[in-house]
Subunit: 359 residues, 3 copies
Amino acid sequence: MNEQPTLAQLAETLGAQLRLAPGARGDQVPAGLNTLQDACENEVSFLASANYRRFLADTRACAVLVTEELAATCPVTALVVANPYHAFALATAIYDKTPQYAAGVDASASVHPSAEVHSTAYIGPAAVIEAHAKVAEHAVIGAGCVVGEGSEIGARSRLFPNVVIYHGCYIGADCSVHSNTVIGADGFGFAPSQGRWTKIHQLGGVEIADEVEIGACTCIDRGALGNTVIGRGVKIDNMVQIAHNVQIGDYTAMAACSAVAGSAVIGKHCTIAGGAGIVGHVTIADRSHVTARSLVTKSIDEAGSYSSGTPFSDSRSWRRNAVRFGQLDQMARRLSELEKAFAASLGQVTDNTPRGDLE
Amino acid sequence: MNEQPTLAQLAETLGAQLRLAPGARGDQVPAGLNTLQDACENEVSFLASANYRRFLADTRACAVLVTEELAATCPVTALVVANPYHAFALATAIYDKTPQYAAGVDASASVHPSAEVHSTAYIGPAAVIEAHAKVAEHAVIGAGCVVGEGSEIGARSRLFPNVVIYHGCYIGADCSVHSNTVIGADGFGFAPSQGRWTKIHQLGGVEIADEVEIGACTCIDRGALGNTVIGRGVKIDNMVQIAHNVQIGDYTAMAACSAVAGSAVIGKHCTIAGGAGIVGHVTIADRSHVTARSLVTKSIDEAGSYSSGTPFSDSRSWRRNAVRFGQLDQMARRLSELEKAFAASLGQVTDNTPRGDLE
Amino acid sequence: MNEQPTLAQLAETLGAQLRLAPGARGDQVPAGLNTLQDACENEVSFLASANYRRFLADTRACAVLVTEELAATCPVTALVVANPYHAFALATAIYDKTPQYAAGVDASASVHPSAEVHSTAYIGPAAVIEAHAKVAEHAVIGAGCVVGEGSEIGARSRLFPNVVIYHGCYIGADCSVHSNTVIGADGFGFAPSQGRWTKIHQLGGVEIADEVEIGACTCIDRGALGNTVIGRGVKIDNMVQIAHNVQIGDYTAMAACSAVAGSAVIGKHCTIAGGAGIVGHVTIADRSHVTARSLVTKSIDEAGSYSSGTPFSDSRSWRRNAVRFGQLDQMARRLSELEKAFAASLGQVTDNTPRGDLE
């Protein structure tokens, strides 16, 4: 992507139909991408949601990715596509400036003689590739990363600096792992014995399929017995905790600070929002959605959206309500008693009425 | 700060009025600082809160930072200041033993020929300074840190070991970033397409103003389009997650494990307590306070304190009440119906009473 | 553990009574450990919980760790022990393949001349041992780790790669610290002054007793004045935040993503479940248990289990109930009023009844 494309080339790459505005030229070379509101005259934008439609009329962008439906209302050159958000995502790859590295092993890296590093791979400064580890073609191992004994990094996968992969972990092709993430540290397993904890050494590993992206400062623990398994195309954000023997189904996405306890099995195509938690040994159905900060304490058998927590408010109101939370069971019982007593009183009235009638 | 000050010098440095106790000498050299309860005879203490006033009479400290108001009750030498807590904070700088490093580039560091490292800066062992990066005067780049392509570290700023700064990130002057924090990793952006996720490459960067302190294992993601922005004098604790395109206003403080989702705008002088969360695309008014572990799900328009969550209790009571939470809407409806029914029954009674009267 | 034991040797090592199944041989060499369901013919399994008893009859394991009580129902060779889970934990040590390192200092490590590294210790590639630091016998300092000025690592303790120990921190013997954990970073202390924050330099350190295990990406901050203290045999999982001056009692376990705010004192033998939080300056009694994601906002004086939060449900139901949470105080007042009004109405009825009687 050294040379940036013209509008016409961009349209071709994105499979977009180019509808030049009067006076516009297909050989214009846009400088990059931006939102409808912030785009300069030489930037391309996109209209992916009805919420942003109001910004279309005034955009200064030189071209906009739009649907056929909205193309007519586009005041500038339109790049007509079926799915503008997806086309925008594809376009970001063109303008991405994440540094690339030429093949080779930095002189300050430590590569064990028994490790297999493909000649097209890059091993950065102070990185360590331990015994019997394998780094496949075009893989990039950033500065300060460690690839543990016997672990494997698939083709075109990239570890950003200071990632640690323990021994016996398998990372597929086309994966990204961001900085300071740790894969394959010991799961948290201890047997209580006479008031102390005896360590359960974690004998399993971690298996990560192809096309997985993992954010920064995330932990994926190795299995106790058998592996922790991350499915194909899974996307994991920053500071996510995946405990030992968790399984995450293909194409599931987990936002930042979410956490999954040991041996939980999460289905395919799930979306776990930021800060959500899933306790151990539960099963989550495919296509489940868990909302931000919710704690899932039981298995989810049906696709759907799941939540827990309380709404926020000013602290004074909150405190008044929160105190009542501690009285809820008592309130519920009082309500039931009152219902019964009232019903009984109506019964009395009913009883009384005849009696009254008898008078 | 090689030579420690005498009491008199300390008073001068802190702008304190020295009121020597009988027999005390201004040329005494205190060994350090401590609390009123724990101070030894050669330590200086402080009285910053009425809660600790009861410890003043029995303190063994050689001197105490106090207000004029309380100076008379101080049994030892008083260092009279307007704000003892602030004076204590200033004093901690005098006794701090955090190691300092002489200017120079460690032989094991990797500095790209195109990088600009000021001659007064320090680059630690195995640190990496990538192409076109700049490290300003008296900056300290700890062991194993990476400063990515074109990124800049301002004057006197310090990265503790193993911090990773991605490409295109700007850190101001007089900042501290603690170990294993990651700045500029990709924001979490993917466009769904046919059950898969297409990556939205994150084209923006991170801008951090002067006098910002950032704790350990914290993540500040780069912007998707445009930058993530951290204002002047912001203080961020450990394991804080700042998503792409977040803006944090000047002098806001965020405690450990708090998290802010994408494009949220947090005002100035806010205090976000530990574990609090703020969802994406909201705006938080200046001087807002969010209490520990609260989740802010909407914009906050007015300064104030905001909370969510439930009080804790013994698990048995909690379970009884928590079950009722799942019945709350039903309870509310039953309460309303009961109110209506009761009012109606009173109406009957009222109707009856006259009838009774008529009898 | 280079050579794996025979069944007879395994029994001896674990203090188990070997009851060979018909045709089984004590000189069989099992390949490893597995669950009852997943074990192959050459793996040893264990029955530690009644929940798994149903898997015993069909297991393919060559031997099973069982209690005397259940040994008779074991279809294969029984290894009879008093506590099968504990025996399993001991057995994991035998089959653990975590790489070990021979004594020596890697050529790419930086060891300050004033540091004391025992001749039996291992210092990995690009690791840094600063001035006056001490690394005791058989300690293992992984690649990219930093041991700060004057800090000490006890005998047989192991830092996995990229751990950072700041200056003035003391780690006991037989400890493990997993990758990218940070010990001794500054506690979060700032004094407000005229709308800005003045740093309170953190003058204390961190003291970690023997036999402590700490997970990956965890932070244990140094004390402000005096040390943060972690007791003997404490087990801490990944991404746990321990703030300045916290004290954690012996043999307490803290699961992933739990957090403790400044100066909290946690007792001995406590279990803090995943994601639980404990606010600052509270005291938690020995043997307390805090359930997952609960927030402890006050001291706990008695051993027991403690919780907060709400149950999860489908988002639609949850939303209906959560809205009512914001009306709880009002509901409680309405309930009380209704109770009073109803009682009063009954009073009227009671009053009326005699009157009725009088009629």
